[in-house]
């Protein structure tokens, strides 16, 4: 089978490495990417117990340089970027002028610039929006020459410590000293690495930015460790679903506002008071609990998963909401899902009906995360 679409797909720096390991390649975000190697279930459980290596080089890595870059970025994100300390990371949202969510992203203050990681499927639109919205004295660089690897799982720190990675300055922290949502510049031999203690699986772990030509050397060195196996997109999706983390383009999009997406934590207090980000009036009118609908978690009665696109229905069978992600939780060994429901149905424990292929399926609104987060957080003093 061949179609024209396949030929326009781009290849990742690790393309041949994935294939040599038996990765099954599928189209995703404009790239051919490995959906699985040995199997989604085994890879998922391995990551929850050991450490998994994910190639996320399809994601967009962007630098913003220039005086006032943080303040300029704050015009289109609701996070408190100007207060972000050096080496700290913030999860935030890229907002359209009407407050709709254009993307979700990580922003790091490296001390020299802002380093952003945006979703692969949206990166070109994001960059065009940045260029249109940011003042000319803020320079944007798209780091297309860099790969990005995520090492995730309870043994990620022990595994990474086996590679001889040094901080840029001898008295700076080593990777194991970073706490969740902290980052720094490092050297692995003569290869420069940007390492963040972050990820999107709910586990402890790192995201490592590496020059494209060295991505395979690093991936191979990590996978040579007993703790580490390569993990595909399939398990990445089931891991983030268990962690209650929304996937852009599925669990939120430009038609959804932050409060509806259940992302109130991304609307920082200082920025709510300033109320000067794109769409602030519309976004804040819903804060904290005045939206008409909300993203919630669902447990499903029985063993059959419900999938994206299934309808939440009322007693008369009218659609009142929609499932945006659904699958089988390998950790809990039962189906779980995310859905948008009216506020009246959003309380944990509420019993609702989802209709899938004409069949009603009983579900219960559940707290998220479905599986507790296992982040390496800085102890609170």
């Amino acid at each position: 089978m061949s179609d024209d679409k396949t030929e326009t797909l781009k290849k990742l720096p690790l393309d041949s490495w994935h294939r040599s390991l038996g990765g099954r390649m599928v189209p995703f975000a404009g790239y051919e990417m490995p959906v699985q190697y040995e199997g989604v279930m085994a890879e998922h459980l391995w990551t929850r117990e050991n450490a998994g290596l994910f190639d996320v080089s399809h994601m967009g890595q962007v630098q913003l340089v220039g005086d006032g870059a943080a303040e300029a970025l704050e015009a289109i994100v609701p996070g408190n970027i100007s207060a972000l300390g050096v080496g700290k990371i913030r999860y935030t949202l890229l907002l359209a002028q009407d407050g709709g969510i254009l993307d979700d992203l990580m922003v790091t203050n490296t001390g020299r610039n802002l380093y952003l990681v945006v979703n692969g499927a949206t990166k070109h639109d994001d960059i065009a929006y940045f260029k249109a919205q940011l003042p000319s004295h803020v320079t944007l660089s798209h780091l297309e020459g860099h790969g990005l690897l995520a090492l995730q799982g309870p043994k990620a720190a022990a595994a990474l410590a086996k590679l001889e990675i040094s901080p840029m300055q001898p008295d700076w922290p080593v990777p194991a000293d970073l706490y969740f949502m902290e980052a720094g510049p490092f050297m692995w031999g003569d290869i420069p690495l940007g390492i963040s203690r972050s990820g999107y699986t709910g586990e402890d772990g790192y995201e490592i930015s590496v020059p494209a030509e060295h991505t395979e050397t690093l991936a191979a060195a990590l996978c040579a460790l007993d703790e580490v196996k390569p993990i595909g997109l399939g398990a990445r999706d089931s891991l983030r679903l268990e962690a209650g983390l929304p996937l852009y383009g599925h669990d939120m999009d430009a038609g959804v506002l932050p409060v509806e997406a259940n992302l109130n934590f991304a609307l920082s207090k200082a920025r709510r008071e300033e109320a000067n980000f794109a769409g602030a009036e519309r976004v804040l009118a819903q804060y904290p609990r005045k939206a008409e609908k909300k993203r919630i978690g669902l447990f499903i009665n029985g063993r059959q998963p419900i999938r994206e696109g299934a309808s939440v229905v009322d007693a008369d069978g009218n659609a009142v909401g929609a499932v945006t992600s659904g699958g089988f939780s390998p950790t809990l060994q039962k189906p779980i899902a995310m859905a948008y429901v009216p506020m009246a149905l959003a309380e944990t424990g509420t019993e609702i009906i989802v209709e899938q292929r004409g069949k009603p399926i009983a579900c219960t609104v559940a707290d998220m995360p479905f599986v507790p987060h296992n982040y390496h957080r800085k102890p609170k003093l």
């Binding site: 089978m1 959906v35 699985q36 199997g39 989604v40 279930m41 085994a42 998922h44 399939g234 999706d237 089931s238 063993r303 059959q304 998963p305 999938r307 699958g327 089988f328 390998p330 189906p335 292929r357």
Partner: protein
């Protein structure tokens, strides 16, 4: 007993007027870890090409179409407790349902084992 195959990766074992239907080893391999199988009800009348069953993996749901027309007489209840039977024994213990054939001439359009193997090798 003769075994037939479809280009939708189902197998059909025919004994007299009764056909046993399942998905092939190639299909289970492509689907990955199977976590649920929705089988038809006994008594259901299926026409060739109808939706007959749904196979759910961790990530996705896949339809299984009726390879041949007939009346469902038995479903594999073991799949309810152990859907992984389809992964472990797709072409034997992991069968989906049995039906009484209503039109045996439909079998003429299906592949034999050799033709199916050539079909899969060409994918």
């Amino acid at each position: 007993m003769s075994r037939y195959f479809t280009d939708e990766h189902e197998w059909v074992d025919v004994e007299g007027e009764t056909a046993t239907v399942g998905i092939t080893d190639y299909a289970q391999e492509q689907l990955g870890d199977i976590v649920f199988v929705e089988t038809p009800e006994a008594g259901a009348e299926l026409s060739q090409g109808d939706d007959a069953a749904v196979v759910e993996s961790v990530k996705a749901a896949s339809d299984v179409y009726a390879a041949v027309s007939g009346t469902v007489v038995e479903v594999n209840d073991a799949l309810e407790d152990e859907p992984a039977l389809v992964n472990n024994s797709a072409e034997e213990d992991g069968w989906f349902f049995r039906l009484t054939l209503s039109d045996k001439s439909e079998l003429d359009d299906l592949m034999d084992e050799k033709a199916y193997k050539a079909f899969v090798d060409g994918l």
